[in-house]
């Protein structure tokens, strides 16, 4: 026997959560685009698209986060942070989205702990849908996991024959939510899983050593000339986490905020002196690839890419990180490292 959820009961699950004062976030259609957004009515849940345009990161690391408020008087000053994120059920992310949380935990938690991110993490129950389809931009399997991986989810819903989901309660938080809304679930023997696996497209093990060896390489100039530096790829990416810290307010009162930023912007690294360590777009793309596949992997033991394909679907000039990874895989196969420096 296993726990099952009829697809038609998905909205009842959300209704149950709303009745218990959870904020519910899930994919909804807004102006023709399917986005993760806060829902006031479970009927708005939209599972038509494989992937939303935005990622779930903004519910843990918002586009703009108030770090504290300040008020200044004539001779005194006060700062305050009364931060308490709402208890949230986040439904409709994919295995890639959930995995991004586990990877981001390491960044926001190393040494200094970012309480804003972790408070939102703790307050949020993540219900993930395993994928029953993929598109040409998906590459989770190339990164060593797959469309029904449970990592990062509190509850995993796996589509099975019979218009049902097999329910995997992954964490205590997930089990607690299930206990709260248990009426919507049934017990039974699940039908065959309807999970769709994209084929593996490149050899991940070859990418990092190639990037390490080729800080200088013709592809940096040849492949990225068309990039506009618009930053769309980084904003839609569940893993990109660069931010700026800015004040909003005046000398009397206001707030200091943490706002998303992007390594694809020319101003990102510009020094006051006018010197720019990454003067061209090619250098910024190289940073993006190396950060995701070398630096992050070295520091945090996992890539800063989960293969969700958002950057590919949304790039205005159709630059594809997947194409570049495939190209790098090919380059690596054509010119393997010297045995002494070879990676296992």
């Amino acid at each position: 026997m296993a726990m099952l959820l009829a697809k038609k009961n998905l909205r009842a699950l959300l209704r149950g959560a709303m009745d218990r004062k959870y904020r519910v976030v899930g994919p909804v259609r807004e102006h023709g685009i399917v986005l993760f957004a806060e829902m006031s009515d479970p009927g708005a849940l939209c599972l038509d698209e494989l992937n939303t345009q935005n990622s779930i990161k903004e519910f843990f690391f918002p586009k703009t986060e108030k770090l504290f408020t300040y008020s200044l008087g004539k001779n005194d000053a006060a700062v305050a942070d009364d931060f308490a994120p709402p208890r949230t059920v986040l439904i409709g992310g994919r295995a890639c989205d959930a995995r991004s949380l586990v990877a981001l935990d390491r960044l926001f938690g190393w040494d200094y702990k970012d309480k804003f991110y972790f408070a939102r993490r703790e307050a949020t129950c993540v219900i993930t849908l395993a994928c029953d389809r993929f598109d040409e931009a998906c590459f989770c399997t190339s990164l060593g996991f797959g469309p029904r991986a449970a990592e990062g989810s509190d509850i995993l819903l796996v589509p099975v024959e019979g218009d049902e989901y097999a329910v995997e309660a992954v964490t205590d938080k997930g089990r607690a939510l299930i206990a709260e809304v248990k009426d919507v679930f049934t017990e039974g023997t699940p039908g065959a899983e309807k999970v769709a696996y994209p084929e593996k497209k490149f050899d991940l093990a070859a990418v990092k050593p190639w990037l390490e060896r080729n800080f200088e390489h013709p592809i940096w100039k040849e492949e990225f000339l068309s990039c506009l530096g618009c930053g769309t790829c980084t904003y839609q990416c569940p893993m990109c986490h660069c931010f700026d810290i800015v004040d909003e307010g005046d000398i009397h009162g206001g707030a200091r905020c943490k706002n998303w930023d992007s390594c694809q912007f020319a101003l990102f690294t510009l020094h006051t002196s006018g010197h720019n360590p990454r003067p061209a777009q090619a250098a910024r793309w190289r940073q993006r690839l190396r950060h995701k596949f070398v630096y992050y992997a070295d520091k945090f033991g996992t890539e800063a890419c989960v293969g969700c394909g958002r950057c590919i679907r949304n790039c205005p000039v159709c630059l594809s990180i997947l194409d570049k990874l495939v190209l790098i895989g090919r380059e690596a196969a054509a010119a393997p490292a010297q045995p002494a420096g070879a990676q296992p």
Binding site: L107, C242, I245
Partner: protein
């Protein structure tokens, strides 16, 4: 700042303002709360985020030595929104400070050796902290030499301290300005820092070199030090990449895989040589 919010600054009061050049100013800040002052400590080389509420934060090293504590100083050039707002502060005004962040100059490991300081322009502030730190422990070191250059005489910062250093008998100060930057009464050298350094040819035996300056100056100074016989592991610098968070989150400061805010800002020339040319 007893808070779990890593972005919350200490509240500071402006305690002193000093103009170094036409556009460079030093601020002395004191902690608004005694508890903060009592538990705060730092070491030479560390940096922080200085802020003006309503304008934002800016990264500078702590320019005073830990041997003279109870306050912190920063020296900055007016360049953008935050530095303009910092410049507008008057004695008694409120500011913010987060820090100290980053690693330190391993000064204890230099005891018994000579120290050679080489700085260009607005890069004297990060070094001033170390220079005073060493001068305040003068008997721990052999020779202390400072080579300092700026574009013009008007751009030399800490003029009072330069005078004091030039008058001290227990250290040597070599000052220079770029060709064309001299005034009729200029009595120092004329020439770029690396050239002047090579001519002065300080001894490298048992000597630590500390170099601070813009990337272009580092690029030309390291080879001179090589030729003078300095081992790259005895040459230190502090890297001034753009930073925002200071705590290894915001993704701004990395050179290759090295997060300057966490693993730096102090590096040896040997470590710098291993980084990709992206600084």
């Amino acid at each position: 700042m007893a808070s779990d919010n890593i972005y919350l600054p200490y509240l500071m009061k402006v305690d002193g303002v000093r103009d170094e050049t036409r556009d460079v100013r030093t601020l002395r800040l004191k902690f608004a709360r005694d508890e903060d002052a009592a538990q705060f400590s730092f070491k030479a080389g560390q940096f922080g985020e200085y802020s003006v509420f309503g304008a934002g934060e800016c990264t500078f090293c702590i320019a005073n030595p830990p041997t003279r504590a109870g306050f912190i100083e920063c020296t900055f050039r007016k360049a953008g929104r935050v530095t303009k707002a910092l410049r507008d502060l008057e004695v008694g005004d409120t500011a913010g400070f987060r820090g100290p962040y980053g690693n330190v100059f391993p000064i204890e490991s230099w005891y018994g050796k000579s120290v050679l300081f080489i700085a260009g322009g607005i890069a004297l502030p990060p070094m001033r902290c170390v220079i005073w730190n060493c001068l305040d422990l003068r008997d721990k070191f052999k020779d202390i030499t400072v080579v300092y250059g700026a574009r013009t005489v008007g751009d030399l910062v800490y003029k009072d301290e330069l005078r004091e250093w030039s008058e001290r008998s227990d250290m040597k100060l070599i000052q220079t300005v770029d060709p064309g930057g001299e005034t009729p009464d200029w009595r120092g050298q004329i020439g770029f820092v690396p050239t002047v350094l090579e001519k002065a040819a300080p001894a490298s035996a048992d000597t630590i070199a500390v170099v601070c300056g813009p990337p272009i100056m580092l690029k030309f100074t390291f080879p001179v030090l090589d030729r003078l016989g300095f081992a790259r592991a005895s040459v230190y610098t502090t890297m001034e990449n753009r930073m925002k968070c200071g705590v290894g989150k915001c993704g701004r400061c990395n050179v290759g895989g090295v997060y300057i805010c966490k693993e730096g800002p102090v590096f040896t020339a040997e470590q710098v040589a291993r980084m990709p040319a992206e600084y």
